[in-house]
């Protein structure tokens, strides 16, 4: 099954880095959509079938935490898994995001961490023959 992914980050270079990292993993990629802030991210979620959202926190217009909150309020978006990729270093803030169901990846990240996190959050690879 191909996975449609939404990447929300105000840095185009960081979005490119995440896409390049995704292509280095064995995650079966479908369509990859990009947004520069939480508002744009919600618009794409409204229009496209998305299996996984990868979201930065510190963004203009609408930050990632508000976007996650809005997703929780919408029954159509509520079940979409979210990975937060951020420089956030505060334990309290990270725990708050985790309580909202997000899985946290710290910047800078490695391809292995991204791959392992996606496999874990989507339950991929558990029945693969090795």
């Amino acid at each position: 099954m191909a996975i449609n992914i939404l990447i929300v980050d105000d840095s185009g270079v960081m979005r490119s880095m995440i896409i390049r990292t995704l292509r280095m993993t064995e995650v079966p990629l479908g369509e990859i959509h990009q947004a520069g802030n939480g508002r744009e991210g919600l618009d794409i979620l409204d229009e496209q079938w998305i299996d996984l959202a990868i979201v930065d926190i510190n963004m203009p217009v609408m930050n990632g935490e508000e976007m996650i909150d809005r997703m929780h309020e919408d029954p159509e978006m509520n079940g979409i898994p979210v990975i937060v990729v951020s420089t956030e270093g505060s334990k309290a803030r990270i725990e708050r995001l985790e309580h909202k169901g997000a899985v946290f990846i710290h910047k800078p990240f490695t391809a292995e961490i991204v791959c392992d996190t996606i496999n874990s959050i989507l339950g991929l690879g558990e029945n693969d023959e090795r």
Partner: protein, 166 residues
């Protein structure tokens, strides 16, 4: 305090450049820096238990490689001005985001602003909105194959006494 801050800032910047762009940097103890006009600078401000601004100046040659490596470009592929500006802003953001908990621990909360590129035709402090009389609390120069990277940490006042550096 300054030496401890500089050691932390140096390590965070070296780790970030390596993990983010596979670039290997070494702390340069010498005072001689590159001419300012051969560098591009960006800054990000933060507030929290202590507030301030992190400024990063980087050789144009280093910035080209930084942007190309972050984008995964092949040798000979050119980066655009937008790519380079974006790469510098993201790098400053990541260094700042990792530096503050390295200084103050992960129990405290900081708000980090939006990083920006400093105008090339202005003096660094003026461009970053730093008061003229304020000296950096820490300054680190890193050497890379392609050139140099200089980091300045300006603090608005002292680090609170209840924050013990690691």
């Amino acid at each position: 305090m300054s030496a401890e801050l500089e050691a932390i800032m140096s390590q965070v910047a070296i780790d970030t450049l390596e993990k983010l762009a596979f670039m290997f940097a070494f702390s340069d103890e010498g005072e001689e820096g590159r001419p300012w006009d051969s560098m591009v600078a960006g800054s990000v401000s933060f507030t929290g238990p202590f507030s301030g601004t992190l400024v990063m100046a980087i050789s144009i040659e280093v910035l080209q490689v930084l942007a190309a490596n972050m984008l995964g470009l092949d040798d000979g592929e050119e980066t655009t001005q937008d790519h380079r500006s974006d790469a510098l802003k993201e790098t400053i953001n990541i260094i700042c985001g990792n530096l503050l908990p390295a200084i103050a621990g992960d129990e405290v909360v900081f708000d980090i602003g939006v990083p920006g590129i400093l105008p090339a035709d202005q003096e660094m402090k003026k461009g970053a909105g730093i008061p003229d009389g304020l000296d950096p609390s820490a300054k680190v120069t890193l050497d890379l194959d392609e050139g140099q990277c200089v980091l300045f940490l300006f603090l608005d006042g002292e680090i609170p006494k209840d924050i013990v550096l690691p």
